[in-house]
């Protein structure tokens, strides 16, 4: 038998990567008008076994699947958390899901934030809109292992105050002595007391030690471009600017083709990339 024949025979007997495992919703909160936040546990009692920055495929049976970033850090215990925006059939259906409801989960998929390499250094988070959902997994990880990192700076932006995610946590982070958190909104009413303007304007309000800083930038493509420009202008190295790319990963295992950017499958080789990698992809952002 040739190697190809052996691979076929072995693969024919392999478990299907497309069958979801059952999970149960422990709690659900409507975070904004369009975003719902879930804490979930696998029903077989096994931990999901994920790393900060990975994603799962969430199944609503009868509707389909959607790729969702994990918002929690593995330091937060056995379950995991998802922040879901109502943007399609599956995520629309999820808006009606609550405590005790059951879901299908596949994954976790993809690579993760390079939290080991970042140890002993400064970390700058720049999260715009729903970009805070995947970024929070690493923010929580760094705050839960605070002594492993030097300074922690968190910049968060949203279009308006009512669209801000994780508002309670933003307040708690702002009060911390061992981290600097700044929140801005593009536009606001008179009751907003915080910063206004695009997120890049917050760069002027923080002091960075560029040679020792990792910048984690996650947000809509337009924000990403301008935030990377600011980070580069501060002197941060290209291979220390980290982002998480959004694609419609349908299979999660590098086959269906939907998340492919040139030779890269975002679901398998990403979603976490350095700016150095992304700029070579060209179709990346």
């Amino acid at each position: 038998m040739t190697q190809a024949d052996i691979d076929i025979a072995k693969g024919a007997a392999a478990p299907s990567p497309y069958v979801p495992r059952m999970a149960r919703i422990l709690s659900a909160d409507q975070m904004t008008e369009t975003e719902r936040f879930f804490r979930i546990e696998m029903e077989d009692g096994q931990p999901l076994g994920y790393e900060p920055g990975q994603f799962v495929e969430v199944s609503v049976f009868g509707m389909g699947e959607a790729p969702i970033s994990i918002s929690s850090s593995p330091t937060q215990g056995k379950g995991f958390e998802l922040c879901v925006r109502n943007a399609g059939t599956v995520t629309g259906a999820l808006m009606k899901f609550g405590k005790g409801d059951r879901l299908g989960i596949r994954g976790p998929f993809g690579n993760h934030f390079p939290y080991e390499e970042m140890k002993g250094e400064d970390v700058l988070f720049v999260a715009g809109g729903l970009g805070l959902a995947p970024t929070r997994s690493l923010i929580r990880y760094c705050l839960d292992n605070r002594k492993d990192y030097r300074s922690v700076t968190i910049l968060v932006g949203a279009r308006e105050p009512k669209l801000l995610l994780f508002r309670d946590e933003l307040d708690a982070w702002t009060k911390r002595q061992d981290a600097q958190t700044l929140v801005t909104v593009d536009r606001c009413g008179p009751d907003w007391k915080g910063c206004t303007g695009v997120i890049t304007r917050l760069f002027k309000r923080v002091k960075l030690d560029a040679a020792k800083t990792w910048a984690v930038i996650v947000g809509p493509p337009i924000m990403f471009k301008f935030a990377v420009l600011e980070a580069l202008a501060e002197g941060i190295r290209e291979n220390r600017i980290i982002c998480s790319l959004e694609r419609h990963m349908k299979c999660g295992v590098g086959k269906c083709g939907h998340c492919q950017i040139r030779g890269v499958y975002v679901c398998r080789d990403g979603p976490i990339f350095t700016y150095e990698q992304v700029k070579r992809l060209r179709e990346g952002i």
């Binding site: 190809a4 024919a12 069958v19 049976f61 995520t91 299908g104 729903l130 493509p221 694609r247």
Partner: protein, 348 residues
């Protein structure tokens, strides 16, 4: 395993014997119309062994459709409180009887794509239950094919048994154990010196019948593609492209898919189905937020050409294009992958 010879009149009996063990799929002659007398062939499930038309040339869809059907159930589940999702993995034993060298080569590419990294048992179980009988070609299907360039004219994988037409019958060469089992179901005799010479004469006619069409060795294709990423050639060709996806549908190595949940009529259960998708269609790289990462036709066309000439090769070690010419024949505006490869080589 020594070659054997099957007499032409014993072919139907052999196919009939195989049919007792497995479903036989092969090329058959489709009906012709009074206005169009050219014979058209198609890959179908064979009922009568005499329907098998091994002297066929072109098919719109190759044998891929029996390994990678347009719709495939992946997972079934119940609706309501307890879904109990289960994988649907089918193992119907079949033989693809009469695959041309390009299609066998393409199947070997699909095999590699589905076996690598995370194995896809839905494809591989079907594949493991499939035997492939190759029928060799003496001349190119038509002017669009460039299989010699793409290295698919002399396949080294993707089949179990190879048939070469010789005077009065078939020269039968066995590649795998499964091929030998199939062969032994038929009435064959040992190949004699004169059969070997007939086979050799075929090989020489074949060698004389095919000509290289690319102005460069295909090993340079990934590099040539790499250097033409920013060329205006993509926009120029894309002017003619309707983004219809016919190229993907007919391609023997295309395997991108979309997923849909289909609910049973009694609303009691559902099936998660995968179905052909096309990287040429506008929403292919669109995300939920509305961003489309390959919004322009030219970028989608370039993506396909890169997949065929570079990405699949880099991912699987096997070419994503076998030079069969199906995409060009299917294209309403005659966009030719071969001419595109020629053009970018000249444009550097």
């Amino acid at each position: 395993m020594l070659p054997r010879v099957l007499k032409a009149e014993d072919l139907a009996g052999w196919v009939g014997a195989i049919q007792k063990e497995r479903v036989v799929r092969g090329p058959v002659l489709k009906e012709t119309s009074p206005s169009d007398r050219t014979p058209h062939f198609s890959w179908e499930t064979i009922r009568e062994p005499s329907d098998l038309a091994l002297d066929y040339a072109l098919t719109v869809l190759g044998p891929k459709k029996f390994l990678w059907p347009p719709r495939q159930a992946l997972v079934t589940y119940r609706l309501g409180g307890d879904p109990k999702p289960e994988a649907v993995v089918k193992h119907e034993p079949q033989v693809l009887f009469g695959a041309h060298p390009c299609d066998a080569t393409a199947i070997a590419t699909l095999d590699a794509a589905f076996a690598k990294d995370v194995a896809d048992p839905h494809y591989l179980a079907r594949r493991a239950a499939t035997a492939i009988v190759l029928v060799d070609c003496e001349k190119p299907c038509d002017e669009t094919s460039f299989c010699l360039d793409m290295g698919s004219l002399y396949p080294e994988a993707g089949y179990d048994l190879a048939l070469t037409p010789i005077e009065g019958g078939w020269f039968v060469e066995t590649k795998t154990e499964l091929g030998k089992r199939l062969r032994d179901l038929g009435k064959t005799r040992e190949a004699k010196k004169s059969d070997m010479e007939a086979r050799q004469a075929f090989v020489e006619r074949k060698r004389a019948g095919f000509h290289l069409k690319l102005p460069f060795d295909v090993k340079y294709l990934p590099e040539i593609l790499d250097e033409s990423y920013d060329s205006l050639v993509w926009e120029a060709i894309a002017r003619r492209c309707f983004s219809c996806g016919s190229c993907n549908t007919t391609c023997p190595t295309c395997y991108c898919w979309d997923v849909a949940d289909v609910i049973a009529e009694d609303l009691g259960s559902g099936t998660r189905v995968r179905r052909y998708d096309s990287c040429q269609l506008d929403p292919f790289a669109e995300v939920a937020g509305g961003e489309n990462f390959r919004e322009h036709r030219a970028s989608r066309l370039r993506h396909r050409m890169y997949r065929k000439g570079k990405f699949i090769l880099e991912q699987t070690g096997r070419s994503g294009c076998v030079g069969c010419g199906r995409c060009e024949r299917a294209c309403v505006s005659h966009i030719s992958i071969r001419e595109t490869f020629v053009q970018i080589a000249g444009n550097r």
